[in-house]
Structures are given as C-alpha cells and as structure tokens.
C-alpha cells in the first residue's frame, strides 16, 4: 500500500470527502437526520474502484435509510475510508468506520466457486460487507443509546448485526449470514498466547457464532449449517465422506434456539423502545439487496 507522499497530498485527500447532505430526499421517504455519511477518497489508487463502486451503489445512503426507524439522541457519522489497516475500532463518540482495506479483504477471501455449504462468491461479498457495516453501526448504537451490554462488546455487536440480518426474510438471511460466516471461516488463523488478550473473539468463534445464530433464528432455512439436524446433542449423525469443517459442531447446536431467544429478548427490551414502529414496517417492506449485488 502506498504511503502519502506529502502533507499536501494528505490535505488534498482530506478535502475530497463526498458527503451526502443529511436532508436528501429518498424515493421511500426514509431518512435519519441524525446519521451523517461520508465516502472518503482513498489516496491509494488500488482502492479507487472500491470507493467508486460503493458510492455508486449508495451503500451509506442505504444504511441511513435502514436506520430511519431508530431514534438517536445525537448524531452519528458513518464513513468509508482508507485506514492503513483492516479495521478501525469504534471509539466512544464515533465515527463508525468501514475501511477500504477490509472491503478489499472480503473480495480477496471470497470463494471463486460455490462452497460445499452453498456459499456463492456474491453472497460472500455481500454478506461480509453487510456484517461489517451492521457490526460497526452496532457499536455506535450501544454507545449513543447507552445500551447496557453484558458480555464482550464485540460479540454483542456481532449478535445485533446477526439479529438484524434475520429480520428480512429467508433470502436476505441466507445471503447475508452465509457471507458473514464465510468471511470468518476464510480468515481463520492460529491464535497463541497473548493473542487471546484481544477484545474480539477468534475468527473460529465468530464463524461458529454466526452459524449458531442463523440456525437458532431459522432452523429450517439453516439446517444445512449444523452437524446434527435435530440438535440431539451427542448423537451425531455424520454424513459419509471427508469430515466437514464448515458446519456447526453438534456440541453447540442444542444451545442455538435458546441463544436466539435471548438475543431477541435483548433486542426487544433494549433497542425496540427506541424504534418507531411505523417506520420499522416501511423498512421491513423494502427490498434491500439487489440481484446483482456482489457481482
């Protein structure tokens, strides 16, 4: 990745922020005046196609519309920019940042062919991107709404993101959760010693958590995510052939429905009070993904 050559170049980049006015009228009439968005031009030309593609697709405008029902007591800035690393952790007060480096990584890891679990390249790209945006946005939501969060905050952000992915019908759930899970499966690496002091879970944990969330939220649609269909604990019915490493192990399966119910309870108790129900209906009725997304 190229470094900036001079302070002047840095200044030029920081001015080239494509910010959409917060009062822009959308076809659906959905908007959130507390959400500011920005696509920050990358200095590295390698990221330029990503910048242009995301802008054209209006991903941040979509995010802002998606958040229309959420009553936020103060402003949140969501931006996409070059970070110098894969992620920029959310600090209290914001902003929410998605890094071009992460988007590039998503494409790099996406499978060329459909995987044994049925993940297509397009789903891998769309799902991982949606997960990243909703995960980072979740940190901001916890912060701004002063949500009491038990457990590790990063896991909580994964959970809220996953919950949202399950609220828009089977097709959206399938595409996004498949992609989200796949990204963590593909980024798996070996952790040792003080690696475990990270505030985030391991890629394997996040992978399994997404499989479990999906199955817990819709056992029918996601029965192919798990090792045992009936959740019978130790009675594992292993399919013939080489061992699958891309399914949720039987040991976890019996917990998934309970975990999903607890997640739904958390959402209904802690987030729903801040949600406008009429706008929520409109958001739920809207088509968010397009057939050519991820292509």
């Amino acid at each position: 990745m190229k470094l900036l050559r001079s302070a002047a170049a840095l200044a030029a980049v920081s001015l080239c922020v494509h910010a959409t006015p917060t009062t822009a009228q959308t076809p659906t009439g959905l908007q959130n005046s507390q959400v500011d968005i920005a696509y920050v031009e990358p200095s590295n030309p390698d990221y330029r196609p990503i910048y242009e593609r995301l802008q054209k697709r209006q991903v941040l405008e979509d995010l802002r519309e998606f958040l229309a029902p959420l009553r936020l007591p103060r402003k949140v800035l969501a931006k996409i920019e070059q970070c110098g690393k894969l992620t920029r952790p959310y600090e209290l007060g914001g902003p929410v940042t998605i890094c071009y480096e992460y988007v590039a990584e998503i494409s790099k890891l996406a499978p060329k062919e459909r995987t044994p679990r049925g993940v297509s390249r397009e789903d891998a790209i769309v799902g991982a991107f949606v997960q990243a945006v909703l995960h980072e946005m979740s940190h901001a939501i916890f912060d701004v709404l002063k949500v009491p969060v038990w457990g590790r905050e990063d896991d909580a952000a994964d959970k809220l993101a996953g919950f949202l992915m399950l609220q828009f019908g089977k097709e959206v759930a399938r595409r996004t959760l498949n992609g989200a899970a796949y990204f963590f499966e593909a980024s798996d690496r070996t952790w040792t010693g003080s690696d475990f002091s990270d505030t985030r879970g391991t890629e394997a944990q996040r992978f399994y958590n997404y499989l479990c969330m999906a199955y817990g939220g819709d056992q029918n649609t996601f029965k192919d995510f798990v090792e045992v269909e009936d959740g019978a604990g130790s009675r594992v019915v292993r399919p013939k052939g080489p061992a699958r490493t891309d399914l949720l192990p039987a040991r976890r399966v019996p917990w998934c429905v309970k975990e999903y119910n607890e997640l739904r309870w958390a959402f209904n108790t802690l987030i729903m009070p801040h949600v406008d129900q009429d706008l929520l209906q409109k958001v739920r009725a809207r088509q968010w993904l397009r057939s050519d997304d991820g292509k």
Binding site: W150, G151, D155, A156, G193, F196, S197, G201, R252, A266
Partner: protein, 287 residues
C-alpha cells in the same frame, strides 16, 4: 469516563467507591439475615478425599454466609444452593428440573487447593489468592447465571462471558484488600486449565465458553479497569498487554452500566450497603 447523573450517581457511589473502612463500619453479623429465598444444603460426599472439603465448608459456614451475602437480592422464586460431590471438577447452575439451582462441587475447591502454586509465581499470583479467588470466582460465576436467568436479564454478549464479568465485578465492590485477595486468583485458574487443555481443537471454539486464555485476560482486564491503582502491576510487570489494558477502563464502565441498569433495580439498597460494609474474608481464608 462517562458521568452518571441524578439518582444513578447516588447508587453508583455505593458501588464505585466501596466503603473500605472495615473497622469503623464493621457490621454486627446478626444484623444481616439470610435471604429467605436462598435454600442451602451440604450433601455429604461418599469419597474420603472430599471429606475434608466438606468439613471445612461446613465449619466455615460458607453457604450460610452466602445466604447472608445475597440478602439484598430480591428474587422472584427460591434459589437452591447445594454443595455436593459431582464426580467431576465443575460447578453448575441448573435452571429447571430436580437439580434446579446452584450445584457447587466439592471437587472444585479440592482441585484449586491442589493446583494453587506453592510459592508466589513470577507474574505475582500468590497461593492464597488462587485458592480463594479460584473458588469464589466460580461461585459468583454460577450465581451470575442464576441471576441472569431468574431476573430475565437482557443480554447481547455471550452469557458465559457475562457470568465471568459479574463475578469479577462483585469482587471489586468490597475494597482493595478483598479485590487483591480474590480477583487475580480467579484468572490464574484459567491459565492453569489451559495448560492442561492445549492444543485447542478448532471445534472447541464452538463452545459457549470462551477460550481459557480469553477468560484469563478478561478477568485481569476487569481488575485493572476497575482499580488501575491496585492492579497496575498487572500491566507494568505482569501479563496484561498494554494494548488491551488501554481498553479496560471502558470495559469496566460497560460492565458497571450493565449491572446498574439490569441488576441493581432488584437489589435492596440499604441491605446492599450493609453487605458492602462487612468483613467477609478472614485472615486464614485461602491458607
């Protein structure tokens, strides 16, 4: 650190600055009654090697003390707490069924007593704090599960991590001496468990519990985040990496908010002050 205004500030004053002056504020034990919803039982073990644990717990009146400790907690139903022989080194909370309630296995304190270091370790873990903290952290962890279940606590993160958090949080509310004698000992046990469970099969990452070392660092971080002065050695010369340490204050505040918002409404404030003012540990505990 976010400032908390109004009523919550008053409530937090009881939590974030625990009354440490044990001598001045030491409460007469008889003032604290047992929580009438907490039903206790010591089940006699059959194996001889567990007998001394059974005798010690009964003599120390551990469960009776726990009943008093829990007196401020308003529970909707009874909470049975049993000490028993389990056939394994573990502890449980059972939400329903004939074994409903806390099952505290004698095997656990027996194991902790055996594996506690004979001398203070290079990272600074003492034998006494491992024995005390190793046992207490598990008791409060299981109690955490009970409270989350019985009070229907909303939870976005993983419940196993939350139980570790509430356990560590509780041990930080009774002054520096209690914190120092218990908290890091709880962490040590996870590091010791890990040595026996390495290498970690990938499928074990699907468990509802975090990796032993994650739990280890989480507890150290809560300790440092809750009391950076008392626990500064954890970062300065100890195992907690600075990159994580930087975030620990924020993590502690998050846990405190979760406790204040979701648990404190079920706690009798007057009784809580009495519980916080009392000397719970004795000089020979952990020896």
């Amino acid at each position: 650190m976010k400032r908390v205004v109004g009523v919550l500030a008053l409530l937090l004053a009881g939590i974030s600055q625990p009354m440490l002056s044990q001598h001045a504020a030491a409460q007469d034990v008889s003032e604290l009654k047992a929580n009438s919803q907490v039903v206790i039982e010591y089940v006699e073990p059959t194996k001889p090697y567990l007998r001394s644990v059974y005798d010690r717990m009964k003599q120390r009146q551990f469960l009776e003390q726990l009943q008093q400790f829990l007196s401020p907690l308003r529970l909707p139903v009874t909470l049975p707490i049993r000490m028993l022989e389990c056939g394994e080194t573990n502890a449980y909370y059972q939400p329903s069924g004939p074994q409903r309630g806390l099952q505290l296995c004698y095997e656990y304190p027996e194991f902790v007593g055996r594996m506690a270091p004979a001398e203070t370790t290079p990272e600074g873990f003492t034998r006494e704090e491992v024995i005390l903290g190793g046992f207490l952290s598990v008791v409060f962890h299981e109690l955490g599960h009970a409270v989350f279940h019985l009070l229907d606590v909303p939870m976005f993160g993983r419940e196993e991590d939350a139980a570790d958090q509430i356990s560590a949080f509780i041990m930080l509310q009774f002054g520096k001496n209690v914190a120092r004698r218990t908290l890091t000992g709880g962490a040590y046990v996870w590091q010791a468990f890990y040595s026996g469970r390495s290498p970690w099969p990938r499928t074990l990452y699907s468990d509802t519990h975090g990796h032993d070392l994650q739990r280890y660092y989480n507890i150290l971080c809560i300790a440092y985040g809750g009391d950076p002065e008392t626990f500064k050695a954890l970062v300065e010369s100890g195992p907690l990496p600075p990159e994580r340490a930087r975030n620990c204050g924020r993590e502690y505040q998050q846990i405190r908010r979760a406790f204040v918002d979701t648990i404190l409404p079920h706690i009798d404030q007057d009784l809580m002050k009495k519980v916080q003012a009392r000397d719970w540990l004795r000089p020979d505990d952990g020896k």
